[in-house]
């Protein structure tokens, strides 16, 4: 994948590309560093086939179907077909909070600078910035506002439980 921003314990690394590749919907091959569609991956698990550790979740996939197998995964990518479609934020929330997923969580597709801080708050720690955009410029969008009122994945407590107002 290209244009990668990765955040690990507050350190940010930016790279032009990494070794991972997204496999299209009906693909089900098994080379290293391939990211399987969630449904194909689940089908392999069902068959008892040897399973890779990376999947990608489409906009209308139900991430709760990964319940039970989530520990087998260390890399999940969530697809944003259009940055105006906010389903991926709730998908990320559910993976992190409901399924307690601890591995790397990456947004890819229509991923743009002005949404990165929101994605980060919803539990993403890695981003494949839309092709044609400069990831170094996009990285300026990670920081966001210093004040958030509500709780979120990255900061579970709402403001009034974090500080004395």
């Amino acid at each position: 994948m290209k244009n990668i921003i990765h955040i690990q314990s507050n350190d940010m690394t930016i790279s032009k590309a990494d070794d991972w590749a997204i496999l299209e919907k009906d693909c089900d091959s098994l080379e290293s560093h391939q990211i399987l569609p969630m449904k194909a991956w689940l089908a392999r698990v069902e068959r008892g086939d040897n399973t890779p550790t990376a999947v990608w979740v489409d906009v209308d996939d139900d991430p709760m179907e990964l319940k039970g197998d989530i520990d087998k995964l260390s890399f999940i990518c969530i697809f944003f077909a259009d940055f105006k479609d906010g389903r991926g934020y709730s998908t990320a929330y559910l993976l992190r909070k409901r399924l307690n997923y601890q591995g790397e969580l990456r947004a890819f597709g229509d991923v743009l600078r002005d949404q990165l801080s929101l994605m980060r708050q919803c539990g993403f720690d890695s981003f494949a910035i839309k092709e044609g955009k400069d990831p170094h410029d996009a990285a300026k969008g990670i920081k966001g506002l210093s004040v958030t009122y509500s709780g979120s994945v990255s900061q579970p407590n709402p403001l009034y439980k974090r500080v004395r107002r």
Binding site: F83, G86, Y89, R98, T148, S152, P158, Y160
Partner: protein, 552 residues
């Protein structure tokens, strides 16, 4: 009145700088219009027919006198000297330059205001009624929860790209004056037998081309769980709301396609996972926010004021204004004043800078410096001692704001229509004016309280579906035509109006409306309201009368 602390202030200031950078990137071409669009909408900026329009949030319609003066400054410096108050208690400026918007937002931030989430597919301004905190029939001040919900929803990262806009309203009085039933989430706040605050939660209201009142999904939600419950509703909506068709994307469509029971089950299942979690409200937080809405220090006054009584007895004009504009107050010797912004002297919802300043001055002189915006697009001075009502009236007379028509025919709710709005299918202000002018004030008083709502297109910004008489502007082969619904009502027994028949031309409209009110006068029993008469006699008599001597 809610005062910003350092956190509120930091948030709006940083948001201004963020948007300043986004505007600069748009102007340099770095951001495409498609990428910029949701960013500007979530900062209140629409592109309209003639210019950009900026919608400024007035949370639950409450303003201080300084904030009103600040709006007057914006009207003068960045617009053409006026602004338009909306049914959702916000204000719109119609003639804005893109390059000026960061400075306008900075100016707003300096008076503790913003335009965050006044547009876009996110949670919008949380509304309540104009008389919150002073109405005698109130159980609990709804602004307190409106503010708590406002903070929770502001830049809440998971819910900024919902399928469609999302509107929440709260009311806690016997009479619902906040049109709660047409909101995506409507909240009635009440005390149970043990005096514990609870919410009745209704979901899936909305007007537009498929009007729905919201439906009850939870009867007795404990106050501390209101945020987790809203979160559950929003997560269900965000995941399952339709995104393929803009006109089917509101939560009303999801609720009605699943059926309210299945929808409730979805929400409950989600809610069970998160209740008693981080979003649970604490007593401390409730009292912190509540302490911001303490009543002003009222004086002990007699309920009857001699001078006020004398003025009423000796001045007919004052007396007729009082009969429409002066509203009861929970504290003896005080009253609330509703200021009409309507025809014939004004344009519905519009105030010019001088009028805004005058209202701010009156609030400072007589009314603790507080002002409210009513969803009927009028302005309210909530806390005026009765002995000063005559002074207030005299002063309002000087700026053309002393119309004695609050609640009457000419107090219509009207959207901007083709005057500014690029979505309009018809004019609204000029026709509404003709309807208003068809009645003398005596005739209006004879008709009494009635709501007439006129929208310039099917989006229903003026809530025509829930007006006693609703008027919808259409376009028939290049001409403006108006479709009429009657029987709509807001409040606790809200109802969606029914279409009476073929749409009528602009010229015929005033006659038709008058025929309808005449039919009411001919049929009403004693002190029946328009809506009560409608409920008793049904649509037919109105239908028959409406088209008399106009032809359809």
């Amino acid at each position: 009145m809610y005062r910003y602390d350092e956190y509120d202030r930091a948030l709006v200031n940083e948001r201004v700088e963020e948007f300043r950078d986004q505007v600069a990137r748009r102007m340099s071409g770095e951001l495409t219009e498609d990428e910029f669009l949701p960013l500007r909408l979530q900062n209140g900026l629409y592109l309209q027919k003639h210019a950009y329009m900026m919608r400024v949030a007035i949370p639950y319609g409450a303003l201080s006198s300084d904030q009103m003066r600040g709006l007057a400054v914006i009207a003068n410096e960045f617009d053409r000297g006026y602004g338009h108050f909306t049914t959702r208690q916000n204000i719109q400026f119609n003639w804005i330059e893109l390059a000026d918007t960061p400075d306008i937002l900075a100016h707003l931030a300096s008076i503790d205001m913003h335009a965050i989430q006044t547009s876009g597919n996110c949670v919008r301004n949380v509304t309540t009624e104009a008389y919150a905190g002073v109405a005698p029939d109130e159980e609990y001040d709804p602004r307190i929860f409106a503010e708590i919900i406002r903070q929770w929803a502001t830049v809440n990262p998971e819910f900024l790209f919902l399928p469609r806009k999302f509107k929440i309203a709260v009311s806690s009085s016997k009479e619902d004056r906040a049109a709660v039933r047409m909101h995506d989430i409507g909240l009635y706040l009440y005390r149970d037998e043990e005096e514990i605050l609870r919410f009745q939660v209704m979901v899936g209201g909305g007007l537009g081309r498929t009007p729905f009142l919201n439906k009850a999904v939870k009867e007795d939600l404990h106050w501390s769980e209101v945020l987790s419950y809203i979160e559950a509703v929003l997560r269900v909506f965000n995941r399952y709301g339709r995104r393929d068709n803009k006109y089917k994307a509101r939560i009303k469509i999801l609720v009605n396609s699943l059926g309210v029971d299945a929808f409730r089950e979805e929400v409950e299942a989600e809610w069970l996972q998160i209740r008693e979690g981080f979003s649970t409200l604490t007593d401390d937080e409730l009292s912190r926010v509540a302490s911001q809405f303490l009543s002003p220090l009222y004086k002990t006054l007699d309920d009857t004021d001699l001078r006020y009584g004398n003025h009423i007895a000796s001045n007919d004009e004052f007396a007729s204004w009082v009969s429409r504009s002066v509203k009861p107050h929970k504290v003896s010797g005080y009253a609330s004043v509703a200021i009409s912004t309507k025809f014939p002297t004004n344009t519905p919802g519009d105030l010019n800078a001088e009028q805004m300043q005058r209202i701010a001055d009156l609030a400072d002189l007589y009314g603790f410096g507080v002002i409210r915006i009513a969803h009927e697009q009028n302005v309210v001075l909530p806390d005026i001692p009765k002995k000063y009502l005559f002074n207030v009236w005299s002063s309002l007379c000087e700026v053309g704001l002393a119309l004695p028509n609050v609640g009457l025919v000419s107090d219509m709710i009207v959207c901007p229509g083709a005057s500014y709005c690029s979505l309009a299918t018809a004019h609204s202000f000029p026709v509404a004016k003709k309807v208003a002018e068809a009645y003398s004030i005596e005739e209006q008083l004879e008709v009494g309280d009635i709501s007439i709502n006129l929208s310039g297109c099917i989006n229903a910004c003026a809530h025509h579906h829930i007006g006693n008489i609703g008027i919808l502007g259409l376009n028939k082969s290049g001409e403006d035509y108006y479709q009429i619904t009657i029987g709509g009502a807001q409040g606790k027994d809200s109802q969606i109006g029914k279409v009476i028949g073929p749409a009528v031309s602009e010229d015929a409209l005033p006659r038709v409306v008058k025929n309808i009110t005449n039919a009411y006068l001919a049929n009403r029993d004693d002190s029946e309201t328009f809506h009560e008469t409608f409920l008793r006699i049904g649509l037919e008599p109105f239908k028959l009368a409406a088209y008399e001597s106009v032809g359809a």
